[in-house]
């Protein structure tokens, strides 16, 4: 008779529990887990504006992402801080060019799109 792999019942119980847990942990995520990707699609149509701001003795570079069709929808993110204002300005320019969809800067926020009332 062939020799078979055998396992103690207690060990088998533990193994089955492990498989059960594996099936519970490695299941598909709910669809809304990835909703932030869909929600951030507007960022692809945004103008990127660099903003250098003095804070606590340093020059902080912030990038402002503003939707070109609806500028009231915008997002501001702190990127980095530099001790030298010229260095901050240079790097901010690079960062803007990397972050912007169009490197030439044709996507821009126009005052008309804000639809401000004349009065």
């Amino acid at each position: 008779m062939k020799a078979y792999f055998d396992i103690h019942p207690e060990a088998y119980k533990v193994m089955l529990d492990g498989i059960n847990n594996l099936m519970l942990t490695e299941r598909c995520a709910p669809p809304d887990d990835l909703a932030f990707i869909k929600d951030n699609l507007w960022l692809s149509d945004s103008a990127v504006i660099e903003h250098i701001y003095p804070l606590k003795g340093q020059w902080e570079v912030r990038l402002l992402f503003a939707h070109v069709y609806n500028p009231l929808q915008f997002l501001c993110r702190r990127i980095h801080a530099y001790a030298c204002p010229r260095k901050a300005a240079t790097h901010a320019g690079y960062m803007r060019r990397v972050a912007a969809k169009d490197q030439r800067g044709t996507l821009a926020v126009k005052i008309e799109t804000l639809k401000l009332p004349p009065n």
């Binding site: 008779m1 019942p9 099936m23």
Partner: protein, 206 residues
């Protein structure tokens, strides 16, 4: 192309199913395979070697079924495993009809069966636990209910074919599966019912 050894085992299995292990002689196995008894003796020195060889094949097939545990999280996984169990027990009916004969004459084989069967029972119990955690089965109404349910499911899976033979009922895979799902049905949650409806189920349960 199957080897002579495999052909002998297949013939033996066929004859065991038809006449029972005790009633089959080497001559019959040789005739069924289409070889001489001398040739048969070359491959298997005696009947015990053939019986052991047949059971080796059975153990392998049974282990294969056990290893298909939770390949998918839903109830369709149990349904698929039930199909495998049905095929197994339908093809190897002598396993049950000669069960106690085996205990007497081949205790080693019987012991091995006992190990596999207890593993099967454990697996059913753990599967119920898993379905409770997943929310397709209601939480256990009172302690011990699901242990008893697992035991009932095991009994149905294992002895469904012999009891149908005894009653003269039809031996059909769908009827077999229905018998199992009927047991589980009262304990299923709304989500469980939805999952059950998604797999092939009898019309009266939908």
């Amino acid at each position: 192309m199957p080897t002579t050894k495999q052909r002998i085992l297949e013939s033996a299995m066929h004859l065991f199913n038809q006449y029972g292990v005790a009633n089959v002689r080497l001559q019959q196995i040789a005739d069924e395979t289409g070889i001489s008894v001398g040739n048969l003796a070359y491959h298997f020195k005696n009947k015990e070697a053939i019986v052991t060889g047949v059971y080796d094949v059975l153990f392998e097939a049974f282990s294969e079924i056990l290893s298909s545990y939770l390949q998918a999280p839903n109830l369709a996984d149990l349904d698929a495993q039930l199909s495998q169990y049905y095929q197994f027990f339908a093809q190897h009916r002598f396993y049950l009809t000669d069960l106690f004969e085996m205990e007497r004459h081949y205790p080693q084989v019987f012991e091995k069966w006992r190990g596999l069967v207890s593993r099967m029972l454990l697996q059913i119990g753990r599967r119920l636990d898993y379905y409770v955690k997943r929310g397709v089965l209601k939480p256990e109404p009172s302690p011990g209910i699901y242990d008893a349910l697992a035991n009932n499911l095991w009994m149905i899976i294992t002895f469904w074919i012999p009891q149908q033979m005894l009653k003269g009922g039809s031996i059909d895979e769908q009827v077999f599966k229905d018998a199992i799902w009927m047991q589980l049905n009262p304990y299923l949650t709304a989500r469980g019912h939805d999952e059950l409806a998604a797999i092939s189920t009898p019309s009266n349960m939908l």
